[in-house]
Structures are given as structure tokens and as C-alpha cells.
């Protein structure tokens, strides 16, 4: 068990490409940290640097109070689960799990105990003699997990371990991983591009973009108070509606605090809208023409367009400039396509960002 601390970690490739531009993250003992971001944001590179599979250009990686920058992967006391599982195809399930223990010279009797214990936890006991090619995707995934847990390492690293599974299995395994991590209480770092996985698994969520950390924190805090427009649109599905606003509108809606900003971006989550004729005091109301409807059963997404010509100038305070808006309403009842509706959101549900989207303005 150990803390993992990243201090101003940087990675520059020989070609001059800066993959990681100074990352600071502190993962406490036994915590589950999720790195999330779009592809190419550097999250996998960062994980591989913690594993020792990529060199560190600058900064320190500290595992359990020891800077490991120059230490071989084998000596970092970590275990990693790869996206493609990376099982040894020529070894049986048993040998796949035993390999890391044998390399460390553990007596065969203890190896047997540990592998059998892991197989019991992961329900792999009947297939210990099989080769990876004889297993299904979910079973291979569990072998990869087993290979990690038999080692009883200080830290688990997961590199998009569920992305090769089908949707149903992915949800099941997600819960399994969380339960297993709670039970073993091992510090974990998990990389994913799936914001739902990130939200459900994380104790600490690290949202990354372009080699930088956009926001670190508790998943719900990040959801409720995204620090940048990137985080606002990345966390939450469907994404937050973002609209540019003029200074007078900011002032009208958010009072004095908005006065400093020359212009800004207003964000409203799809679920924070209600279809109503009223304009809530201090909130906003938008007239929309319904363009598309997506029914998923328990809820419905309404895609609306704001009329360009008629709405060019906000008629009353609280009317916003043109754009497409997603509204999420419960149930399957929805207005027909082409109908003009009016949606409103209350003051407490508005998010305001600076014009470049890099800072959140608190009302």
C-alpha cells in the first residue's frame, strides 16, 4: 500500500512533441484515481510513465515515498492490466498468473496458494489449465486482473481495461473492479476515455486535455462545478450546452460578479432545463424549435434550434443568442418535431465561464 504522487511530471518525445506538460496529482493510500480525457490527451502516456514503460522527461513520480523515475518497472512494485490484456498466449491461465511470482523466486507452494485464491475470487478456478485463446473476452480480462492481484503490489495500474468488452459485460466488470479494489484496498490508477466509467469508479477524478490536467477532484464536485468549458462538455452525457453571452446579459443574470467579464460562456446541463412558459426569476428562458427527439425509455433528449433571425438580439434579459440546445426530460412524453417550445433553467443551475473557457466565474 502506498501513495502515488506526481510532481510537475513532464514528457517530451525526441521529435519535440510535448505529451505531458507538467502534471501534479496526489493519490492517497488505497484511493482509486481515474485519469479521463479524449484520445491523445496523454492519459495513457502518464500511466505508462508511472509503470516505468516510458521515461520521465521532468518532474518526479513518487510511489510510497520513493522517487521511482530511474527504477525498472519490475522493481516499482506495481501491477498493470493492459487494454488488450497482454496475456502470454503460450501459457495456461495458471502459468500466466504464476509467471510474475516465479520470476521473483517465490516457492511453488505459495504460488499455488496465491493463484488458487485469485482464481477463486475471479471465478477462474475451472479454467486454470486452459490457454488464453480458449477463453472469452471477459474471462481473459479476469485473467489479466488475476495476474495483477496475485502479486499483491503496492499499486494497480489499469489502461482502459474494459474497452474491448461489449457494453453489458463492461458494466458488470466495472462493478467487479470497484468491489475488488475496495476489498483489497490497493491504491489504483485507472485510465479511460469513457466519462461514465470515470464517474462511477473514481475516488479522485483527473480530467486531462492536451497533456495538461484540466481539473482534479471528487467526481460529483467536478460534475457540479466544472472548472473549464472543456470539463463541462466532457463530463456528463449528453454534454453541457454552452452558449456565448454578452456582458449585459451576464450582468442581468448573475448580478455584480459578472461585471468584470467582458463576455463569457454560459453553460446549462440538458437535465437542468424544464419545458415551461414561465421565465424563472434570475434564470434564463429560451424559445426553441424542436428538431429531433431521442427516446431512450426512462428519459428523452430533445434537440432544439434557436431561430437565427428572430432571436439575433435578446428580446428580454435571459434570452440567449442562437445555437443548438439539448434538453433532457424524464419519461417518453415529448413535444412533436417542428413545434415551438420554451425551456427555462433556474439561476442555481447556470454555469458561467470566461470567454476563453479556461476559468469558471462563480456567481
Amino acid at each position: 500500500m502506498a501513495n502515488v504522487t506526481l510532481r510537475n511530471v513532464r514528457k517530451t518525445y525526441p521529435g519535440g512533441f510535448e505529451a505531458i506538460k507538467g502534471v501534479n496529482v496526489d493519490v492517497g493510500d488505497g484511493q482509486f484515481c481515474v485519469l479521463v480525457g479524449p484520445s491523445g490527451c496523454g492519459k495513457s502516456t502518464l500511466l505508462r510513465m508511472v509503470a516505468g514503460l516510458e521515461t520521465v522527461t521532468g518532474g518526479d513520480i513518487d510511489i510510497g515515498g520513493r522517487v521511482v523515475n530511474q527504477i525498472e518497472p519490475a522493481d516499482r512494485d506495481i501491477a498493470m492490466v493492459f487494454q488488450n490484456y497482454a496475456l502470454y498466449p503460450h501459457m495456461s491461465v495458471y502459468n500466466n498468473m504464476a509467471y510474475g511470482l516465479r520470476n521473483r523466486g517465490m516457492p511453488e507452494a505459495e504460488i499455488k496458494t496465491r493463484v488458487e485464491e485469485a482464481a477463486r475470487i475471479l471465478e477462474l478456478a475451472p479454467m486454470l489449465e486452459r490457454k488464453p485463446r480458449q477463453l472469452s473476452g471477459g474471462q481473459r480480462q479476469r485473467v489479466a486482473m488475476g495476474r495483477a492481484i496475485v502479486r499483491q503490489p503496492k499499486v494497480f495500474l489499469f489502461d482502459e481495461p474494459l474497452s474491448n468488452l461489449d457494453a453489458k459485460l463492461r458494466i458488470a466488470m466495472r462493478v467487479e473492479i470497484r468491489k475488488l479494489q475496495r476489498r483489497l484496498n490497493t491504491t489504483s490508477i485507472y485510465v479511460t476515455h469513457d466519462q461514465l466509467e470515470a464517474m462511477t469508479l473514481a475516488d479522485i477524478l483527473v480530467v486531462m486535455n492536451g497533456g495538461q490536467v484540466e481539473q482534479v477532484g471528487n467526481p460529483l464536485d467536478i460534475y457540479e462545478k466544472p472548472a473549464t468549458t472543456f470539463v463541462a462538455s466532457f463530463i456528463g452525457a449528453p454534454p453541457m450546452n454552452l452558449m456565448s453571452t454578452r456582458p449585459d446579459e451576464i450582468k442581468a443574470q448573475l448580478g455584480a460578479n459578472g461585471s468584470g467579464a467582458s463576455a463569457g460562456i454560459l453553460g446549462i446541463r440538458p437535465e437542468d432545463f424544464v419545458i415551461t412558459d414561465q421565465t424563472p426569476s434570475g434564470g434564463v428562458a429560451l424559445p426553441l424549435t424542436v428538431e429531433a427527439i431521442e427516446r431512450v425509455g426512462a428519459e428523452t433528449f430533445v434537440y432544439g434550434a434557436r431561430g437565427h433571425d428572430e432571436e439575433r438580439i435578446a428580446a428580454t434579459p435571459g434570452e440567449l443568442p442562437p445555437g443548438e440546445i439539448i434538453v433532457r426530460i424524464p419519461g417518453a412524453e415529448a413535444p412533436p418535431i417542428g413545434q415551438k417550445i420554451r425551456v427555462a433553467a433556474i439561476r442555481q443551475k447556470l454555469h458561467l465561464f470566461s470567454a476563453d473557457g479556461r476559468t469558471r466565474i462563480e456567481a
Binding site: A51, M80, A86, Y88, Y99, N103, P132
Partner: protein, 293 residues
């Protein structure tokens, strides 16, 4: 799922395979059949009369101690050539597989020897190791080695093995490199995290995963050593000194074309043909089974 083409005409599919069949029939089955027929015939020294003798040519062949020596010699050569060219090629491929500056140049250079024809290989090595002309021979003698492959049978054998193996390294290198590159990088990374040092990683992960390639190449190399070394032997030693570098293929040539014993030569060809069929059969059987993990 198998793709199946539907032809309107019944003749068209036959017409399409006809050229391929014609080539195989004219250049393989017909000469092979000729050899089989020839192996049952006995001609007098002047070629005036020919008689059908059933298996007499074969019986005579197996009574001849020189034939057994040639068999043993051929197998010894083949294993020596296969082993040395395979292991050297694997070593080179493992090194070339690492990310290198100018790696492509290095790889291209390593592939070049394969483009050299076997007789040219022979000439090349003769230039280096000929007892009186050879560039390297001077140094060898300088080191106190009595180097004379024209007189010493063992040295001649070594020379043949060396040059035949050298030529085959390129081919093996190419396959090993492809084999190495097809091993997922993450599997080796997993092994590194699992605490396996580079040498152990090679022997417990890389080598077993390469085993289908190794087996395939082993058969290819043995077949190469059996047949394609003819050009090298012919330019370098002509089977000599004595018979110390006379392999089965070279014996077919000396007995038939130089010795005029066409019946025995044909019988030897047929035996060689059977050996290749067996080797190829083994290869198909095992490669089919082992190649997929």
C-alpha cells in the same frame, strides 16, 4: 466464410487454371515422371541398349558405402547450416528489432545477401578464403593455422557450411524480424512488469512465441541445404577434396552427368524427391497445428 465465385460458363474456370497447371505439369510432373522411369532402366556404357531392371538401381545404390556417407554428410551439413544461419539470424533480428537510429538502412543491408546467387556466393568466399589467393587466408596462416581447404576435407566442409549459412541468414533474418514484430509489445511490457529480466523475457516469452517461425525456417533451411547448396559446392570445391563435400545433390550430378550412370542418378533423384515430400509434409502438419496461438 469461404468466398465462392460463380462462373456462367463451365469452361472458363478450367481455362483460368490451365496456364498454372501447364507450368506445373511441364516443369515438374513430367521431369519427375522421367526420373522415376529412368530409375528403373539400365543403360550400357555406350548408350546403345537400355533394359528395364526394376529396382536394381536402388539395390545397387544402397549397397554402395559412398552413398551412405553422402547421406550422413548431407544431414550433417544441413543441420550445421540450418543451426548456424538460424541462430545468427535470430541474434541479428533481435538486435534490429530494437528502435535504432538508421534501423532501416541496417535492415536493408542485412537483407541484401539473399539477392546473391549461390554460385556467386561461392566465388565471393573463395576470394576471401582461397589458400593462395584468399584475403583472409594470409591472416589465418599468419595466426599459425594451416589453412588449405583444397587439401583438407574438414576445412572444405567448414567453408561450404560457412558460405551456405551466410547466404541464408538474410532470408531467416527477414522472417525472424517479421515474427518479432508480430509479438504484441504489451506482452513483453507485461513480462517486464512481471519481473522478467531481458534474457529471461527472451527465453520465456519471445522464443516460445517465435517457435512457429523457427520451425518453419528450420524446414526451409534444411531443404535449402539439401538442394540449393549445389551452386556453392560446384564453384568452391566440386565435391572435393576426395568426396569430403559431396552431398546427395552433388552426387546426383557427378554420378549422372559426369559418371554417365543415368539409372543410378535417377534413382538418387527419386530418393531426394521423397525426402522433400516428407519434409514438406511434416512442415504442413506441424505448422498448421502450431502456428496459431
Amino acid at each position: 466464410m469461404q468466398k465462392q465465385s460463380i462462373f456462367q460458363s463451365k469452361l472458363l474456370p478450367y481455362a483460368l487454371v490451365a496456364p498454372q497447371l501447364a507450368i506445373v505439369l511441364i516443369f515438374f510432373y513430367w521431369p519427375a515422371l522421367q526420373a522415376v522411369i529412368q530409375s528403373f532402366l539400365l543403360q550400357d556404357a555406350f548408350g546403345l541398349s537400355t533394359s528395364f531392371v526394376w529396382f536394381e538401381n536402388y539395390v545397387e545404390l544402397f549397397k554402395e558405402p559412398a552413398y551412405f556417407e553422402a547421406i550422413v554428410r548431407t544431414f550433417a551439413f544441413s543441420f550445421a547450416i540450418a543451426l548456424s544461419s538460424l541462430s545468427l539470424a535470430l541474434l541479428l533480428a533481435v538486435m534490429a528489432d530494437k528502435p535504432l537510429r538508421g534501423g532501416t538502412v541496417y535492415r536493408t543491408l542485412l537483407i541484401w545477401p539473399y539477392a546473391v546467387a549461390p554460385p556467386v556466393v561461392g566465388v565471393l568466399w573463395i576470394f576471401m578464403l582461397h589458400p593462395s589467393l584468399g584475403v583472409l587466408s594470409r591472416y589465418l596462416r599468419g595466426m599459425g593455422i594451416d589453412w588449405n581447404p583444397l587439401l583438407d576435407g574438414n576445412q572444405a566442409a567448414l567453408l561450404i557450411i560457412l558460405s551456405a549459412a551466410w547466404k541464408q541468414i538474410s532470408y531467416n533474418f527477414l522472417f525472424f524480424l517479421a515474427g518479432l514484430q508480430s509479438i504484441p509489445k504489451s506482452v513483453l511490457e507485461a513480462a517486464a512488469i512481471d519481473g522478467a529480466r531481458p534474457m529471461r523475457r527472451f527465453w520465456t516469452v519471445t522464443f516460445p512465441l517465435l517457435s512457429p517461425t523457427i520451425f518453419f525456417l528450420l524446414v526451409v533451411n534444411i531443404v535449402y541445404a539439401f538442394f540449393d547448396t549445389f551452386g556453392i559446392i560446384d564453384t568452391m570445391t566440386r565435391g572435393g577434396p576426395g568426396k569430403s563435400t559431396e552431398t546427395l545433390v552433388y552426387k546426383v550430378y557427378t554420378d549422372g552427368l559426369l559418371g554417365g550412370n543415368l539409372g543410378s542418378s535417377a534413382a538418387q533423384s527419386v530418393i531426394l524427391m521423397i525426402m522433400v515430400i516428407v519434409l514438406t509434409g511434416i512442415q504442413f502438419r506441424f505448422v498448421e497445428r502450431k502456428v496459431t496461438y
